[in-house]
Amino acid sequence: MLGFIASVIDGVLVGLVYGLAAMGITLIWGVMDVINLTHGTMIVAGMFALYLLTSAFGISPYVTLLPALAGGFVVGVALYWIAVHRMVGRPPLMSLLSTFSVNLVLIGVATGVWGTVLFNVEVSVPGLTLGRYTFPGVHIVAAVLAAVIAAGLYFFLRRTRLGKAVRAVANNREAAELVGVPTTQVLSVAFGFGVSLACVSGVLIGTLFPFTILTGDSYLLKSFIVTVLGGFGNPVGALIGGLALGVLEGAVTPFVPVSWTLVIEFVLFVLVLIAFPGGVFMRRSRAL
C-alpha cells in the first residue's frame, strides 16, 4: 500500500510536467482554433537542446531552459508565418494538414541527421527520502520548475498588456481588431509561446526519461489526453489534466507492465472524448 501511495505521489510530480507540455497545445488551440501537430516534435526539440547544450558546454541542465524558451519562441513565430497564418479561420482539415506536413519535414530531417538511437541525459539531484521510499530529486525539481513556469504563463495572460491582448483575441478576434489590437501579431506571439512551452517541457521531460527522435509522438498523444481531460483551450485546466494523467500513470504502474500504459491511456482518451466532449474539469466557456 505504501508503495502504491509513493507511486501516485511520483505520478503527481511527473503529471505537473505533462500539464506544462499540454499548456502549449491548449494555448494555441484556445487562441486560434488550430491544433499544432508539430507539438510532439517541439517537445523533442527541447530534449535535444538539453542534450546538445549540456554535452557541448557542460552547463547545468536547468540552465538550458532559457535558450529553449527563447529558441522555441523564435521557431514558433516562424512556423506561424510559414504554415499557420493562411490557415487561421479555414476548415480544420487544412490547418491539421499543414502542421502535419511541417512535422513530417522536421521528423524526416532529424532522423536523417541523428537516426533513431536512444539519448539519455544524466542529471544528479539528491532525492528526498521519506521512510522507506526515496523520491528522485530530478522529479521534484522538474515538478517545481513546471509549476513556476505555469504560474508565469498565468501571470503573463492575466497581468501584462500583451497577455490581455492574447486573451482578447481568443475571446473575439473581430472585436479585438476593432479596439486596436494588432491581431495578426498577437496570433503569431501566441503561437510562439505555445511552441516555447513545448520546448521547455521537453527540456524537463528530457531530465526525467531517455528519448529518441520519435519519442514526440507519444508525448503528443499524452498532451492530447491531458487537454481533453482539462478542457480544450484552457491552460489552467491543462495543468489539472496533467495531474490527473500523472496520477493515473502512477496508480497503474504497480499493476501493469509499462508497455501497456499507452493502450490504457488511449482507451481512457476515447472514453473521455465520448463522455465529456467539453472536458472533464473545466468548461470551454471559462477558457483563457
Binding site: 476548415p91 491539421l96 499543414s98 506536413s101 513530417l104 530531417v109 481533453v228 488511449f266 482507451v267 465520448i274
Partner: protein, 323 residues
C-alpha cells in the same frame, strides 16, 4: 442495368483495371508486376481514405491501422488456425470493418479536430497493443512458412494469384468510391463536408453516415493488408502500423485532388513513380518523409484542390466525364 453502369466513367475504370491486370502478363514482367502491386496498394488506401477526407472533410491520420490490422488478422488465421486465404481475407475485412464501426459510432459524434486527434492516437495504441499481444507474436510478429503457398500452386504461382487479387481489391475500391459518390449516401457525405450543421438540419443522419463511411473505408484496406502481408509471409508491429503509409495516403489524396475518384487514383500512380525514383537516388533515399511533407505543405498552402482541381478549372467539361 443500374444507371451508373451506363455512364462512361464506369468503362474508364474497367479499362484501367484491365491494363493493370494485363500489362505484367505481357512478357511475364515480374519487375513491372511488383511496381504495379505497390501502386494498387496505394490506390486502394488512398481511395478509401478519400471517402473520409475528400467526401466528409474528416482527416483520418490512422488509415494504416485498417491495413495493418487486416494483415494481422489474415496472417494469424492462416498460420495459427489453418484457414484458407480467401476466408481469412474476408474475416479480416469484416472484422476490421466491424471494429471501425463500433469505434466510429462513438468517436464520430465529435467534430473534425477531435476525430483527427483520436485517429493519431489509435495508431500508437494499436501498435502498442500488437507489440504486447502474445497470440500475435508480440514485438517479433508472425512468420508464415512457405507451405501456406501450396494451396495456391506454389510460391511462384501464388505471387500471380495475389497480384490479381490485389488488382481486384483496387478495382473494387475505385467502384466503391464511384458508387458512393453518385448515391444518396454520398450526397449526404458531401453535404457533411460542406456544412455539417446545415446537413443535420436538412435531415442527413450525420453521426450514422459518418460511422458508416468510416467503417466502409476500412473494409478494402484491411483485405489489401491481408494480401500484402500474406505475400511477404511476415508481419510485425512496426511494419504493419507504419505511420508513413497513412501519411502517403494523405499526400496522394491531396495531390490528386480530394473528393475526386480519378485524381486520387492518378495521384497514387504518380506518387508511386516518384517514390520509386526517390528510393533509388542516393541523395533522396533517406529523405522520403521530408519530400512527402514538403509536397503536402505546398499542396495544402497553394493548391488545396489538387491536380483535378487544376484540370477542372482548365477544362470544365471534364467534370461531366471524370468523377
Amino acid at each position: 442495368m443500374p444507371d451508373i453502369v451506363r455512364r462512361p466513367f464506369f468503362s474508364i475504370i474497367a479499362l484501367v483495371i484491365a491494363i493493370f491486370a494485363l500489362a505484367p502478363l505481357w512478357g511475364n514482367d515480374v519487375d513491372l508486376r511488383e511496381s504495379l502491386v505497390l501502386a494498387a496498394v496505394y490506390i486502394t488506401l488512398a481511395s478509401n481514405l478519400n471517402l473520409m477526407l475528400g467526401y466528409t472533410g474528416y482527416v483520418n491520420f490512422g488509415s494504416v491501422v485498417f491495413f495493418g490490422l487486416g494483415g494481422y488478422i489474415c496472417v494469424w488465421l492462416v498460420s495459427a488456425h489453418d484457414w484458407p486465404l480467401g476466408w481469412s481475407l474476408l474475416a479480416a475485412g469484416l472484422g476490421v470493418s466491424a471494429l471501425a464501426f463500433v469505434f466510429g459510432a462513438g468517436i464520430l459524434r465529435l467534430r473534425g479536430h477531435f476525430f483527427a486527434l483520436a485517429t493519431i492516437g489509435i495508431v500508437e495504441a494499436v501498435q502498442a497493443f500488437a507489440s504486447n499481444f502474445d497470440p500475435w507474436g508480440g514485438a517479433s510478429g508472425i512468420y508464415l512458412s512457405t507451405e501456406v503457398f501450396a494451396p495456391l500452386g506454389g510460391p511462384r504461382r501464388a505471387l500471380w494469384v495475389i497480384y490479381f487479387a490485389m488488382i481486384a481489391v483496387m478495382g473494387l475500391s475505385l467502384y466503391l468510391s464511384y458508387a458512393i459518390k453518385t448515391s444518396k449516401f454520398g450526397l449526404g457525405l458531401l453535404a457533411i463536408g460542406q456544412n455539417e450543421d446545415a446537413a443535420a438540419i436538412l435531415g442527413v443522419p450525420t453521426p450514422r453516415y459518418k460511422a458508416l463511411v468510416y467503417s466502409a473505408s476500412a473494409f478494402l484496406p484491411a483485405i489489401a493488408g491481408g494480401l500484402y502481408f500474406f505475400k511477404s509471409a511476415f508481419i510485425q508491429p512496426t511494419d504493419a502500423f507504419d505511420l508513413t503509409l497513412s501519411t502517403e495516403a494523405i499526400v496522394i489524396a491531396m495531390l490528386g485532388g480530394q473528393g475526386t475518384v480519378t485524381g486520387v487514383a492518378f495521384g497514387a500512380y504518380l506518387y508511386e513513380q516518384l517514390r520509386g525514383y526517390l528510393l533509388t537516388s542516393d541523395t533522396f533515399s533517406h529523405f522520403q518523409l521530408v519530400i512527402a511533407g514538403a509536397l503536402l505543405l505546398i499542396i495544402v498552402l497553394f493548391f488545396p484542390s489538387g491536380l483535378m482541381g487544376w484540370l477542372y478549372a482548365r477544362f470544365p467539361r471534364l467534370q461531366r466525364v471524370l468523377e
